[in-house]
């Protein structure tokens, strides 16, 4: 809520109330809607290019508090090729880094730079220690160049994890130099270099006793943001820098030479949390007072945390890595993933269960713990071991059931605490069967209308989507919004007597039942009736524009959609023609739809199954062709004729 005067006020009423997403669409295929033409301001920007960018990273001795620093310098030459303009120059920093100096030159002349600094706020993040500084760099006219020189220092090499080659403009030439004194032990891993054309060299500078690594490349395309694309670590060439250790005058400092070191550091932070088991135990006992079996206790605690702890994302220095105290999260009823995982774990532990904290990188990240850096994970969950089985609990997924896993963590490697040791495991993979939405309709023809009853059933992430949307809607408007959602805001698809399962209980399948009158769905021409049975036509718009799409497309989650409609053939009529079946079964997906006459009924069954969410660019032509076939089935109708 924004604290402004007359908060409610006139604008809201003037503009009309707009309901959240639930009211706006009929089906959950967000990647379909978002995969449309996306043209960003800088897309295919031929006007401004980077003629050359040089980056230098040098490990140097720091101060007492931070014995090793990474000094960075960036020199960028921008060139204007078509018409004058300006480019935003930005650099991020945080508690562990600082921007030391910025110089700019326009067409050879030094420009007085007034660098603006600000907190970096990101939607969805309540608070972050990230800061941003920057300024607008003019390009005087066509054919001229402007240059920026920037010096930055990372105060702790733990936080220096990667160097990406892409920029937001096309780069004609790029050179990255790393100066690594031999007292500094690091490992550099070249990622996505296969087709990047990066030339590498390594020399030794006797004077400084340092190894100098040089990477250069030409003609690097600008980075491009696309919805539902893999994370940058999959897409772009980059160097993954693993800082192992440093020999300093005051002794050896071990950073992350292997996953043991990484875990040891995480462990040291966890030890500092200061949980108060007694406070947490009282609540845990209260939540589980009616539960006898351990499995039921786990479910009860998990559901309670999901429902009662609000997710609020904090990134604040070391607190960005250390979970908040369980009792604080419990008291405040909000926390970030670490806070929620820690509370879940503490509650379960208080009940005598074997619960552990887990570090995990979601599918956005290309690495696993074979690369021990702080880039390897971005999330925390809880694991619980029971009767030889391991379950993972991610309470930030508010409406997902127990032992069901969101796509973003499925199959991902987890680092699980185990005292001073750790174990590595994987979150189980789930098939599309976890996430199903089934719609069954029994219909009759009544004049020009189809009437009957409809049942919906949702599971897994399908439930989570519906409930997330539903709970964003004010409850006085929920009924209407639900009707709008189910009818795709089409009043001719008239829904009544809607009954839903308990929207606060996602441990069971979510169900919706209602009566339907689909007006004017039957067309009578002469002796014939034409009937369109598929109202929803899911994914008819799911073609991928291959002229624009640059990256692979990752669908949100595996799922299966089933629709079954049984239509009673009216007395005095017989089937003249039924649409042909479509039966596409690819390794990553299947589209099936078929009409069949069974006695006095026509049964339409459709199945859309996403078996693998990763659509690679090479899959696009087949996918588009199959979507076209699916769309064609949507363009077919039943013909009934008088006997």
């Amino acid at each position: 809520m924004l604290c402004t005067r007359n908060r409610l006020c006139i604008n809201l009423i003037l503009c009309g109330l707009s309901l959240p997403a639930l009211a706006a669409g009929g089906n959950y295929w967000p990647e379909v809607a978002e995969n449309k033409r996306v043209v960003s301001a800088f897309e295919e920007n031929k006007n401004i290019v980077i003629r050359e960018r040089k980056e230098r990273y040098e490990f140097v001795k720091g101060d007492e508090k931070n014995p090793v620093w990474v000094k960075q310098s960036f020199t960028t030459f921008y060139r204007c090729d078509e018409y004058r303009g300006s480019v935003p120059v930005v650099e991020f920093y945080d508690d562990y880094s600082r921007v030391d100096e910025v110089k700019a030159y326009v067409n050879g002349d030094r420009m007085k730079v007034k660098v603006e600094h600000d907190y970096y706020s990101v939607e969805g993040l309540f608070y972050s220690d990230a800061r941003v500084c920057g300024f607008m760099l003019p390009l005087e006219k066509k054919g001229t160049e402007s240059r920026v020189e920037m010096q930055k220092t990372v105060l702790d090499p733990r936080y220096f994890t990667s160097i990406f080659f892409q920029e937001e403009f096309f780069q004609e030439q790029k050179e990255v130099t790393l100066v690594v004194p031999r007292w500094m032990k690091i490992e550099i891993r070249e990622m996505n270099f296969a087709k990047a054309g990066v030339k590498t060299s390594k020399t030794y500078d006797e004077k400084t006793n340092a190894d100098i690594y040089t990477y250069s490349a030409k003609g690097i395309k600008a980075s491009k943001s696309e919805p539902h694309a893999p994370g940058p670590s999959y897409l772009y060439p980059h160097l993954l820098v693993m800082t192992h250790a440093a020999e300093t005058p005051s002794g050896k400092i071990t950073y992350f030479s292997n996953v043991n070191d990484l875990y040891a550091w995480y462990r040291s932070l966890v030890k500092e949390i200061g949980n108060d088991p007694a406070t947490v135990k009282a609540t845990a006992l209260n939540i589980t007072k009616d539960k006898k079996e351990d499995i039921d206790k786990i479910k009860a605690v998990y559901t309670w945390v999901q429902e009662n702890i609000r997710y609020i994302a904090f990134e604040d220095g070391i607190a960005g890595f250390r979970p908040a105290k369980a009792q604080d999260v419990l008291e405040k009823k909000y926390g970030d993933c670490k806070g929620m995982a820690n509370l879940t774990k503490e509650m379960l532990a208080a009940l005598g269960l074997d619960a552990r904290l887990c570090w995990i990188g979601t599918r956005h990240i290309a690495y696993d713990y074979s690369t021990p850096t702080l880039s390897v994970d971005n999330h925390m969950i809880c694991a619980v071991n029971l009767k030889g089985k391991q379950y993972f609990l991610d309470a930030t997924e508010t409406y997902i059931g127990f032992d069901q896993y969101a796509e973003r963590i499925q199959g991902r490697q987890v680092l699980i605490e185990n005292g001073d040791q750790f174990t590595l495991s994987k979150v189980p993979l789930r098939t599309f069967e976890q996430n199903r939405q089934v719609e069954k309709r029994t219909l009759e023809i009544d004049g020009n209308n189809l009437t009957g009853k409809v049942d919906h059933q949702y599971t897994g992430e399908c439930t989570e989507y519906i409930l997330t949307q539903a709970h964003q809607i004010k409850k006085d408007k929920l009924e209407e919004a639900l009707e709008q959602f189910l009818s795709k805001e089409n009043r001719s698809y008239a829904i009544s007597s809607v009954k839903t399962s308990d929207l606060h209980d996602w441990s069971k399948d979510m169900t919706i039942h209602y009566d339907l009158q689909h007006k004017d769905a039957v067309n009578n021409f002469g002796d014939e009736l034409y009937v369109e049975l598929d109202f929803r036509k899911e994914m008819e718009d799911a073609g991928i524009d291959t002229t624009l799409r640059e990256h692979d497309l990752w669908l949100s989650f595996k799922r299966q959609l089933v629709q079954e409609t049984a239509l009673t053939i009216p007395a005095g009529y017989k089937v003249k023609s039924l649409p042909p079946a479509v039966n596409i079964d690819q390794p990553k997906y299947a589209f099936k739809a078929a009409y069949e006459q069974q006695a006095d009924k026509i049964v339409y069954r459709k199945e859309i199954t996403i078996k693998d969410t990763h659509l690679e660019k090479k899959d696009f032509p087949t996918w588009n062709n199959d979507i076209k076939k699916l769309r064609q089935t949507y363009l077919e109708q039943i013909t009934l004729t008088k006997k």
Partner: protein, 740 residues
């Protein structure tokens, strides 16, 4: 992603200021924080100490159990603690959280802890130029437990030394079923003698309010109070006691505002407007007498203040308010010389378009190159533009008046409360007046913005010697035929795929429909050149630059930018087709602007698009079903909750839509069911009429949908509904293409 971030950051940087890079609190901030905490402690004691009965309530009435949130009590106080013009505004509310949506809404607060009230002074907390906000919240749990949190515990999310410091407060332990009670206190100074507070208390919001109270208290030696109650809101109880001017209001059981569609809150919802202002010994324009409470003051007084403002504005002519005057005169003189018998009306149009051109179309070498759609949103200040036009009219002996209009969605003339309730137009004097307004880069003469239609407005003479009002004018409503969208579609079927439609579409839009399409589809290069030529300006800036040694390269650069804009405009046309049909075309094969509609004598924008569409033809055996009804695009749907209506209907303007769809029947097929398409709903509020004609292998469907008026009393709602429903239902209509 990085690109988006970069853009975002840069936008951010443009509007935010310098801030220290270091995270630690700066000395000025740390010092202020000490004072802030001390004052916060006083404020919370004061506000939590209020005794309004509603704040003791802990029960949500059964009738509101289904509401997302229920406001059990809210109270606003506006007070002046001493005579040095300090102003405290306090708001406290007690809200029952009934669902997750309400929980989300009330679980985080963002506020500007300090905000400077003048761009001339840097932020200096607690000085007279800075507004300070304190806030606090407490939670009442079902089990009787409570929890408190205050603004000094909030995280800092922005510090801009020039202007503000922002904090964000997460409310702890808030759950569904809890009550949250919170306050927001603003403390500031009134720094100008003519300044006043602007308060609106609306008695009808999204959430029901069980007890709503207001208290205003101001030193009678220093201040004056005035208020207006509107649309059935009660008057304040007023008194002057203990040297204080006082207003009080207590209203119970304010129901939620039920209707959101086509409402006009300023004219329909009960509300009170209050000004607390610095008084003066003797009342005069723009000032109120100290120690006085003005209850529902005469609107004519406000009107006179607005008139005085206009007169002052009109007379403020100088080189700074009339830039490029020499060039304007040169062109006007040339125009008059070339058009010896020019009428006043023709000269009026010329002057208007010339100043529009000079202000918005012309390019100077030092300008940033902006020639894409962003340029189409450019505009000039209403006052500055119309003053300029008026000045030139007066100097050319053309009589014109300023029209002081109150927009339809603001208060009516007899309920104006401050001079800013008025907006301005210009109108020539005579039997056929030319109305002029400032509506941006495509603004034209003979156009009255929709928001001014139907309003009675005073006139102020444009001549420099007349100061009073000259009379009134009833601003006419525009007819539905003037605000018209026409779609002419020639539809044929692809030879190799009868399910693919080839559509040759010519569209036009006039009146109030015109500007959004101009902004979307027109290219600066085109309208710049068209206007330059129409104004008789011989040399284009491209030619000027090309002739200049200094700016020669600029011409080249503009050429590149023009080419890019022309290439990119295809996206706008694609988007326009998608908006109209609610589906993306398979391919857009051609697009062209036919008329730009830049002037009053070209009243419409017209354009042609050629594209192919899938999804409108269903196959049934060897026959085809055509979704003919869907070709008029998505139609308005009135939701169940909106179908019962007791409130009058305020729409933006009367309007009409026409679709002429011509199907070329493919060889070997016959067309059936066209007769079923016909509709004829025609009533006082609107009409929806469909006729068809079949001849020479073609079916022509003509659809006309008309909203006849911009306003209808609630009693006529069923008639409007009849028309809207008919159009919506038409979308389901189909015709059969039968194999012969």
């Amino acid at each position: 992603m990085k690109t988006y971030i970069a853009i975002l950051i840069c936008l951010l940087l443009l509007i935010t200021g310098m801030m220290a890079q270091e995270r630690k609190m700066e000395p000025w901030d740390a010092k202020a924080e000490v004072k802030y905490k001390k004052r916060l402690a006083e404020v919370k004691e004061e506000i939590w100490g209020w005794k309004q009965a509603g704040f003791k309530n802990r029960t949500v009435p059964a009738e509101y159990a289904k509401e997302s949130a229920v406001v059990l009590a809210k109270h606003t106080e506006l007070t002046t603690p001493d005579k040095d013009r300090e102003l405290h505004r306090s708001f406290r509310a007690l809200v029952a959280i009934n669902d997750k949506a309400a929980l989300e809404e009330y679980s985080e607060f963002t506020f500007k802890q300090y905000e400077t009230l003048s761009s001339w002074y840097p932020l200096e907390p607690f000085d007279k130029m800075t507004k300070v906000i304190y806030m606090g919240a407490r939670i009442f749990k079902k089990d009787g437990g409570t929890r408190e949190i205050y603004s000094d515990e909030a995280v800092v999310t922005e510090v801009n030394r020039r202007s503000h410091k922002t904090r964000k407060l997460a409310i702890p332990d808030l759950q569904i079923g809890d009550l949250i009670e919170y306050f927001v206190r603003e403390e500031k100074f009134i720094n100008h003698n003519t300044a006043y507070t602007e308060e609106i208390f609306v008695l009808g919001e999204e959430e029901p309010v069980l007890e709503y109270s207001v208290h205003v208290s101001a030193w009678e030696e220093v201040f004056a109070l005035e208020y207006r109650s509107m649309n059935g809101a009660p008057n304040f109880k007023q008194k002057i006691a203990d040297h204080m001017l006082q207003l009080d209001m207590l209203v119970k059981n304010v129901p939620p505002q039920p209707v959101s569609l086509w409402m006009n809150p300023f004219r329909q919802i009960p509300m009170l407007r209050v000004h607390l202002r610095v008084g003066v010994r003797r009342e005069k324009l723009g000032r109120r007498k100290e120690g006085t409470i003005y209850s529902n003051p005469n609107a004519l007084k406000t009107r006179d203040e607005a008139v005085a403002g206009i007169v002052g504005m009109r007379n403020a002519t100088s080189s700074s308010t009339l830039p490029f005057l020499g060039e304007v005169w040169d062109n006007v003189k040339r125009f008059k010389k070339e058009n010896k018998n020019v009428t006043d009306e023709e000269l009026t149009h010329y002057i208007y378009y010339l100043i529009r051109y000079m202000g918005l179309y012309r390019v100077n070498p030092q300008d940033a190159i902006v020639v894409d759609q962003r340029r189409n949103w450019a505009g000039l200040s209403e006052i500055n533009f119309l003053r300029y036009v008026n000045y030139m009219l007066v100097k050319n002996d053309i009589d014109a008046d300023f029209v002081l209009a109150t927009p339809r969605y603001g208060p009516a003339q007899n309920e104006v409360f401050e001079a800013d309730d008025f907006r301005v137009m210009l109108k020539t004097v005579g039997k056929k007046p030319v109305y002029m307004s400032a509506e941006g880069i495509f603004s034209n003469t003979d156009y009255i913005p929709a928001e001014f239609e139907g309003q009675k407005a005073p006139l102020v003479n444009g001549g420099p010697k007349e100061d009073g009002i000259k009379g009134n004018v009833e601003i006419p409503y525009s007819d539905a035929s003037k605000n018209r969208q026409v779609e002419n579609m020639k539809i044929s079927f692809a030879k190799d795929d009868l399910q693919q439609l080839k559509i040759d579409r010519t569209s036009s839009a006039s009146g109030h429909f015109k500007r959004p399409l101009q902004q979307k589809l027109l290219l600066y290069e085109d309208y710049y050149d068209a206007e330059r030529q129409a104004l008789g300006i011989k040399q284009s800036f491209m030619e000027e630059f090309a002739d200049s040694k200094r700016n020669r390269s600029l011409a080249d650069e503009y050429r590149n930018a023009f080419d890019k804009a022309r290439k990119d405009v295809k996206e706008s046309f694609l988007d326009e087709v998608k908006e109209q049909f609610d589906i993306s075309p398979e391919s857009l094969d051609g697009y062209k602007v036919l008329k730009m509609g830049l002037r009053h004598n070209v009243p419409e924008i017209a354009y042609n698009t050629n594209f192919t569409m899938n999804g409108y033809i269903k196959k049934a055996g060897s026959n085809y079903i055509i979704d003919a009804g869907r070709l008029i695009g998505p139609q308005m749907s009135i939701k169940p909750s909106q179908r019962e209506r007791k409130a009058d209907i305020y729409m933006s303007f009367a309007r009409s839509f026409e679709y002429n769809i011509e199907f070329q029947i493919p060889e070997g097929y016959t067309l059936e069911g066209a007769d079923k398409l016909a509709r004829n709903v025609d009533n006082e509020c609107g009409s929806f009429v469909v006729t068809t004609k079949q001849a020479e292998g073609k079916l022509t469907v003509n659809v006309k949908k008309i909203y006849k008026n911009s306003f209808a009393p609630a009693a006529k709602w069923p008639q409007l509904l009849e028309m809207v429903d008919a159009a919506e239902a038409f979308q389901q209509q189909k015709i059969l293409l039968k194999k012969a």
